[in-house]
Symmetry: C2
Subunit: 317 residues, 2 copies
């Protein structure tokens, strides 16, 4: 598994991150010398995944503080880089309140590593022995700076001998599944198969999937969950085939001020990511309604319906 500081770290005068756009072909660090450069890296998805975006934002803010940048401006720039993930503004608020932003940012990263470990252990308990899991996008080390959320659970289940196989949705348009998740699973020696996003229904209909594990970019107070585009389709298919559908995400992803999924802003990204030639639409996320989610797993434990109570009792206000 990738070391947390390999994915992203704060140095004296810069934030260093593994440039995820160039994986799996090249392992190249991206060096960001200002909050604006960190915001650009987040927007361009050199770093992505809700928890990792939060850490990047925190490091970006700490860098701005060290450099004597205008901190209100830095906050705004970083917070506006991606609109959907809840962790970004949460992490920024945390470092803004801190006496020493650099210390707090590094602490947030360490806490994320610990949260990943805890939620992975809770989620792995839900898997039956010999499970074949299906996952979407990338929710591993690259997405979190720790061992991962949904993919952290996959790793933990594999370590415990509960997992037989992982199906990896390629995750168009940016192929985070085919590029990043497959790369992480290969490094960890976990048996996996990449499939087109549209093949998940075929696999479920054929009885080849025992559970679906996904992460989250924002979880509303009622349990509705925004995640990578295509997550909703998986949830609808899993429901039809009575395949358990688990969301694995830290409590920092839960936004109690967002009552339902209808209020979550959905980022529409550059259509050129989908097609260079034709008019295109590129919504980056969709919302899965709570009734399709079997359980939400956070570092605090396994949340079941009704989510409103279960989440409110565990998430720091």
């Amino acid at each position: 598994m990738l070391a947390p500081e390999r994915i992203i770290r704060l140095e004296d005068d810069r934030v260093v991150m593994l440039d995820q756009r160039r994986l799996p072909h090249e392992e190249v660090d991206l060096l960001c010398g200002s909050a604006a450069e960190v915001a650009d890296a987040i927007r361009a998805m050199a770093v992505r995944g809700a928890p990792a975006i939060g850490i990047a934002g925190a490091y970006g803010y700490a860098l701005a503080a060290a450099r004597g940048e205008d901190l209100d401006e830095a906050f705004e720039l970083l917070e506006g880089a991606r609109p959907t993930a809840a962790n970004l503004s949460w992490a920024l608020r945390e470092v803004r309140m801190a006496a020493d932003p650099a210390v707090r940012a590094r602490e947030l990263h360490s806490e994320e590593v610990e949260r990943c470990r805890a939620m992975s252990a809770h989620a792995a308990e839900l898997l039956a022995p010999d499970s074949r899991a299906l996952t979407h996008c990338n929710t591993g080390a690259l997405a979190t700076g720790g061992q991962g959320t949904a993919l952290g659970a996959v790793h933990e289940a594999w370590t415990q001998g509960l997992l037989r196989h992982v199906f990896v949705d390629e995750t168009r348009p940016l192929l985070q599944g085919a590029r990043l998740t497959a790369w992480e699973l290969e490094a960890d020696g976990i048996p996996h198969t990449v499939v087109a996003d549209s093949a998940a229904g075929y696999l479920m209909a054929g009885g080849e999937v025992d559970c679906v594990l996904v992460g989250a970019d924002r979880i509303a107070a009622n349990g509705d969950t925004a995640n990578k585009i295509g997550t909703y389709s998986l949830a609808v298919l899993a429901y039809r085939h009575e395949v358990p559908f688990y969301v694995v995400a830290p409590t920092s992803t839960v936004d109690l001020e967002t009552a339902t999924g209808a209020e979550i802003p959905i980022e529409e990204r550059d259509p050129a990511e989908v097609s260079l030639r034709s008019p295109a639409r590129n919504p980056a996320f969709d919302v899965t309604p709570r009734e399709l989610i079997t359980a939400i797993v956070t570092e605090a434990g396994v949340h079941r319906r009704p989510y409103a109570e279960s989440l409110a009792s565990q998430v720091p206000a």
Copy 2:
């Protein structure tokens, strides 16, 4: 709209087809000098789409006859090029029975053009004014040698002023939607937007889709329908959102000897089409169960449930 002979034609000593693998960037003809070369073109998807494959097979057999090739061998070679489409073996049986295979093959092509026209007219009648349709893969001129099946209906509805917009699934892994359908719609001036396959659920949840129109590679006697991978997911989503889901295909796609979808062989293609780097699976088709299909439209008219009776009464045995 593309002229039928531009898509595929039989000349004295060869079959000439527009090489669909190179669209939309280049319009290049592929020249096939033997049945084996036609079979290779079908297998490699230089020509694809169930009705077009049938015509290609018929022309390939006629070419073999003109060249004095072993006709049993030619038949077998061509029939085995793609296992899922029902039209291929149907068309091959037609030309094998004919006194003059070339005459019969050209006649089949003309009949396909006529069938497309008839089924497009029947299907367009199902659309409400100002409809926003979603379609998958390519079911237009390129796929049929005529005006198309599902995309023929789109064209007809547009001509009649019933259509507002078409959403085009890009259709991974070979992008027949983004490459071929968008190219045809652009040529015909029909407003369209390409989306990742995984975005269809988002569009339906947002109330942006009024109907789904797809083709078919094989329709079982009970109405279960094999079509491009991802069709099943669309049908499940459409069902959840009460969006009408229409299959548009000629009766030559209906295989009364296949009782249910469970008996339809599903071609698994080269995993390298999905990923060059990782282990991958590449099922090319899936099966949509009849209960998710609002209507099946053939050149004979609109078939409703129970499909078994409706199809059996219209399909020549």
